[in-house]
């Protein structure tokens, strides 16, 4: 067992969990933050993307024990009273169909906008499509997802 302390969505949490607990399991089963979805559980689909110390990672492919002391943001931690601009943009542009991949899409979207802004690079439509390489939507196309991220990028 490992005793893990983290800051999750701004709150300090502490849990004793088995060493083989994945971050996705830690969030969903131990903290009951089920907004983080597990689609493929093989690091391909990106539904489980969360931010750890400000960087997007696939929570199904990280051990919770290895992230002791980390600051984690999940989809539940994004809105601050009002919806986050990325959430609002997905709503405005109907950037989803069934919604299963959406938490990961939004967390990846926020991460890419932040990185491009920090590096002073323009987040073009082509760049968004390339950046979404690790996020899979199986319902529909990616057009409205890309539009949503473009809108949010202009507002963030």
């Amino acid at each position: 067992m490992a005793t893990i302390s983290m800051t999750v969505n701004g709150k300090a949490v502490k849990r004793a969990v088995p060493d083989n607990t994945l971050l996705s399991e830690f969030l969903r089963e131990h903290l009951r933050l089920t907004g983080t979805h597990v689609g493929c559980d093989t690091s391909q689909c990106g539904a489980c993307v969360v931010h750890v110390d400000g960087r997007a990672i696939k929570s199904c492919t990280a051990l919770a024990a290895s992230l002791d002391g980390a600051t984690v943001t999940t989809i539940e931690g994004l809105a601050n009273g009002d919806l986050h601009p990325m959430q609002k943009a997905f709503n405005d542009n109907h950037g989803l169909q069934c919604g299963f991949c959406t938490p990961g899409m939004i967390m990846s979207g926020v991460d890419m906008v932040a990185r491009y802004k920090a590096e002073g690079r323009e987040l073009t439509e082509a760049a968004i499509r390339h950046e979404l390489e690790g996020n899979i939507c199986r319902c529909t196309g990616y057009h409205n997802i890309v539009k949503s991220i473009q809108q949010a990028a202009a507002e963030m």
């Binding site: 083989n20 559980d41 093989t42 750890v52 492919t61 990280a62 290895s66 990846s108």
Partner: protein, 264 residues
Amino acid sequence: MYDVSYHRPASLADAKAMLASDDAKVLAGGQTLLPTMKQHLAAPSDLVDVRRIPGMSGVKVEGGKLVIGAATTHAEVAGNADVLKHVPSLACLAAGIGDPAVRHMGTIGGSIANNDPAADYPSAILALNATVVTDRREIAADDYFQGMFTTALEPGEIITAVKITPPKSGGYAKFPNPASRYAMVGVYVAQTGAGVRVAVTGAGQDGVFRHDGLEAALSARFAPEAVDGVSVSADGLLSDIHGDAAYRAHLVKVMAKRAVAAAA
């Protein structure tokens, strides 16, 4: 995933002691090891996480050589000012591994310790004639890669860094599998002090390899057209549902041309 004991050593000496058991494995980024453990294809008793050992991550320039800590992530290599200045082709390669979330976790040491036949980094290490630094010795790239998923590393040996002498120019081009994004063929070309070196990943049954014909042609003339006259044999290349050996042999030439055209 089967039960496993997780350890986070504070020093290299502690890590070595923890790796004394045959069933213990180094955890460096986990982007291959953890999925493999979930599939029960690997079942180590202990995971020794080397990422927080001081000095294991980061990039520095020492004596004209680029020294990249083993626990440096792909995203860090891709964005590092020294890498971009001295070996831009390596930054470009790192920026194309997996996807952004994977690049935030995966590490250079993990990639070359695993030596996946479709991984990107082994081609760079081999073409750049890099040196793999471990807790006990330095290993030349030509001696390091010993076949698919096989390296010169001894049990318990820990990669601590990779040393690269900046080439005159280098370039990398890959044909990613449309679904997995792993290299079906990736070619790294480098104009080094020891001549032009060309390393091919993704294609070989025995993992990454150098190609004599391409090296000779590009040493004579470092231009994409120089690849035209080279014959690339399909013998020893992989055949699978994604492409047969002849297709991969053709791709080796196409990617070699693109790598030379992109060389910087």
